[in-house]
């Protein structure tokens, strides 16, 4: 009985330790940046971009050392977003948030092999655009709110796009019995 329970527990490996230490180090860097301690030591214009590049390089090294990719990506994105947007104005915070969501959507659009997941990442990018429009409407045009009107048009276009795209995916699946993007060569000149 005891042997079975011991055997099912997965032992801690070096890769888990690397992921945890990466998360700890990036959160420590973000907190020290928020308190303004790093700015006292070295004071120049592009400090947050330098910290962002350091986080990217460390995350790439941790991925090369076989750490869990999802842990590295989530910790790196949240902490670099915190560092990049902490000392900005409140409009720039929303704009940077939507830029992060847009680039996550671009990554999913280029990488994923399932056609339905490609459609999901397109929806993500359209949502990032909506956040941009509503933030501009709140901070720059608070009387006429034209950004919210454009957000409504983006909503309707996204609904139409989802309906037509999923219908195309279903008909291709019925024709080829696959949703793999690398096997879709129907439109090859």
């Amino acid at each position: 009985m005891n042997d079975q329970t011991v055997a099912t527990v997965k032992p801690r490996q070096l890769s888990d330790f690397i992921g945890l230490s990466f998360t700890f180090f990036t959160s420590l860097m973000a907190i020290t940046y928020a308190t303004g301690f790093i700015e006292k030591i070295m004071n120049f214009n592009y400090l947050e971009i330098c910290l962002f590049i350091i986080i990217v390089i460390l995350g790439y090294l941790a991925c090369a050392m076989r750490a869990n990719i999802k842990t590295i990506v989530i910790a790196g994105i949240t902490m670099s977003f915190f560092i990049l947007s902490f000392h900005q104005s409140s409009l720039n915070k929303y704009l940077i948030f939507s830029a992060v969501l847009f680039s996550i959507g671009i990554y999913g659009l280029t990488v994923s092999r399932n056609a339905v997941r490609v459609l999901m990442s397109i929806e993500l990018m359209l949502n990032a655009v909506n956040i941009n429009l509503v933030a501009f409407a709140q901070y720059i045009d608070p009387i006429e709110l034209k950004g919210q009107v454009f957000a409504i048009f983006v909503l309707t276009v996204a609904a139409a796009e989802a309906a037509v795209g999923l219908a195309i995916v279903l008909s291709i699946y019925r024709f080829m019995a696959s949703v793999d993007m690398e096997r879709f060569k129907l439109l090859r000149w």
Partner: protein, 197 residues
Amino acid sequence: MTFDLLTNYTNGHFIDIIFYIIAFISFPMAIGVIMDKVIIRSGFMLIGLFGTICAMFLLLQAQFIALAQLMIYAVGITLVVVIALMLTSPKLESLNELDLDDSKISGFFLSLAVFFTLFTAIKSESWPVRPEISGIDSVKVIGAQLMTGYSIPFEFASLLLLSALIGAIMIAKHNQSVTKKSPVQTNEDNLITSSKK
């Protein structure tokens, strides 16, 4: 009342704290939508992501857009996406999960370049921010805008939705005369039968 108390307690950074909490919830959701092995789970994570974006709209005082977001995205579009996931067989992405192949590296650098461009553009621009005006009925303003200045795009949006729905039904309809084996031959058969008639 409680809002004022919390604002005093956190030195006026209450909105920022809520913003960072929502952002830190929404980034793992987005990563889960992109990178999760089980694709039906990523389809359900899309609902949570749209919920956090709805909370973001509520922070921006756009109540009508937030509720429209909940109704259209978090209920409608994700329902269609989940039904499409159930109708197809998604067992292909779990093969090469951990390999850093070429498309993943190129996609990573592409998204990094896009984010860096957007960030430098946002940071270098000085936006003409106006002071906040409280007490504006956003639904009233949006309705007046849609009926006066933007009435023609509004009508075109309804036309677009109608034509897109008809087109989706036409594409997804199961055509019984076209079989999987030889669609060309069945077309010829149809031509022959029509000419005989």
